[in-house]
């Protein structure tokens, strides 16, 4: 039985700037389960960063209700935790940032130790803990380096060690890989995934890259202009996106956009034969187990020429997309298309042969 660890209900965040009122977040409700990796995607300015900052109350909302674990931290227009209680709660919510935000004048070790200064541990225990954390993120040998002496990925590792210092239950990642190269991004994501599994850490990931969501998230929320426009499991969202913005994000993640441009230029598509049809097939889950294209050839003598194919494994479920030219005599072609549809595969005709 899963339990909710973060519950945001009808959150509004409004800024007043010299006669101008900016509604950064409008009526957003999100429920995040313990142990989840939850993605929040959207373009910059969509309100993602502002929204997640209410989780540790770095941003106080204008209205709504926030429940973290068993504690209501914000309700009835005011913060329910004050002073020491709020600081203790913040210690249980780690946060990492796009630009790492390490103290330049302190070594990696001192940066991590800073987060432990209000802990009840003895001096020796704290020192041991800092060592263990740096070991966990794979930076034990760089403990005495200053941030300026570390690479971007190493800096983010120090920041992760700092965020984990007080054994948090929640880790908020605000575009934590956006300033890193693709290889380092993969390493940091693998580390976050590992922490999620080993420590049962709940991770809230803000990103503008759908690729990241696809790689490590279980659930995802899509934000646009301060609204939450779509929310669901990564599998659902990827196999069946409803909103145009979500579809746009997914296209950038699967690369089908770029592929389509090239496919359209190909001879076989430009001069599509009269007995042929260009179709897009989308499928998820069990249907990938059946050799459907093989099947339609056997049954209808309709051949399939695959121009593009992409299969993603999301949450252990294969999700595929293909661009195919089907060729055969007309009645057989129609029958083959019906057979494909009845096998739970979404079929869209892109072009018919003339």
């Amino acid at each position: 039985m899963s339990e909710t660890i973060i519950n945001l209900e009808h959150i509004d965040i409004t800024f007043h700037q010299k006669k101008r009122v900016i509604e950064a977040v409008k009526d957003v409700s999100i429920e995040i389960e313990k142990g989840d990796i939850y993605g929040i995607v959207g373009y910059s300015g969509a309100g993602k960063s502002t929204l997640v900052r209410v989780i540790n109350l770095l941003q106080v909302p204008s209205a709504g209700k926030i429940t973290i674990g068993n504690d209501v931290t914000f309700a009835d227009g005011k913060v329910q935790l004050q002073g020491a209680a709020l600081r203790q709660k913040r210690q249980k919510i780690g946060m990492i940032f796009q630009h790492f935000n390490l103290m330049a004048q302190k070594t990696a070790r001192q940066n991590v130790a800073f987060a432990l200064r209000h802990s009840d541990l003895t001096k020796e225990e704290k020192a041991k803990k800092v060592e263990d954390l740096l070991e966990l993120v794979g930076l034990a040998d760089r403990a005495d380096n200053y941030p300026a002496q570390l690479s971007g990925g190493q800096k983010q590792r120090v920041a992760i060690a700092r965020a984990l210092a007080n054994d948090p239950e929640i880790l908020i990642s605000d575009e934590s890989t956006s300033a890193l190269d693709p290889k380092t991004t993969k390493q940091i994501l693998a580390l976050l995934q590992d922490l999620n599994q080993k420590l049962g850490l709940t991770v809230v990931m803000i990103t503008h890259e759908m690729q990241i969501v696809k790689d490590i998230c279980h659930r995802v929320a899509v934000m646009q202009n301060g609204h939450l426009i779509e929310e669901g499991s990564v599998l659902d969202i990827f196999s069946n996106p409803k909103e145009p913005l979500t579809q746009e994000f997914i296209k950038t993640a699967t690369g089908i956009d770029e592929a389509m441009v090239k496919i359209e230029k190909q001879d076989i598509v430009q001069n599509l034969a009269a007995d042929s049809v260009l179709v897009q097939l989308k499928y998820a889950g069990h249907t990938t187990d059946e050799p459907i294209l093989n099947d339609i050839y056997k049954r209808f003598e309709v051949s399939a020429n695959i121009l593009y194919g992409n299969i993603e494994i999301l949450d252990n479920v294969p999700v595929g997309e293909m661009i195919v030219v089907l060729s055969g005599n007309r009645p057989a072609l129609e029958a083959a298309q019906e057979a494909i549809k009845s096998a739970d595969i979404a079929l869209t005709v892109l072009k018919r042969g003339a």
Binding site: G94, F97, A104, F114, R117
Partner: protein, 230 residues
Amino acid sequence: MSEWIQTNFPNIYKIGMEGTNSWPDAIYATLYMTIIAFLIGGFLGLVMGLFLVLTGPDGVIENKAVFQILDKVTSIFRAIPFIILLALIAPVTYWIVGTNLGRTAALVPLAAATFPFYARQVQVVLAELDRGVIEAAQASGATLWDIIKVYLSEGLPDLIRVSTVTLISLVGETAMAGAIGSGGLGTIAINYGYQRSNTDVTILATLLILIIIFIIQFLGDFLTQKLSHK
């Protein structure tokens, strides 16, 4: 050596090496006024600069009213020319020290002039620090005191740099205070050198002031470099 000076620079020799307003005493008075005034004015300026940032726009304890008051006080004090400030706060000086003459009396106007000057420079240094670092500290459950410590330790190299600037302008101000009888190298240069047409005295006093300034500049640059890990 001593005879040679006596023969060639009788005026310099007359100032002497012992007693009040001798060369060593003048150097001591200048350093005394510079350092003590910096400690008092600098401390007040540091606190003021810190609160200008903490209560200012996007500060961790943002407070428009408090910020406006601090900001205006700093601006007004900063705007008064030092030579006029000397006269203006003479009653306050008398009330605190019991006299308007001498090196200790000069500390009051010197500290009063240093405090807004330093406050502005501290404000600029701290406001330029990465706001994200402060946010990360807050996210890790930092108290206001922790955040102040982060500001000070992160700003340390630049705070030393602006302290150097402040100390150098303070040396200049002690010379002005010298004109109204605070003692020090300023008094020697003006009262004993300029007013008695003893150019050699004026030149030596100037050289000594320059040496003090160069030493401060050298130490300041050295420490700034040494302590910066950026």
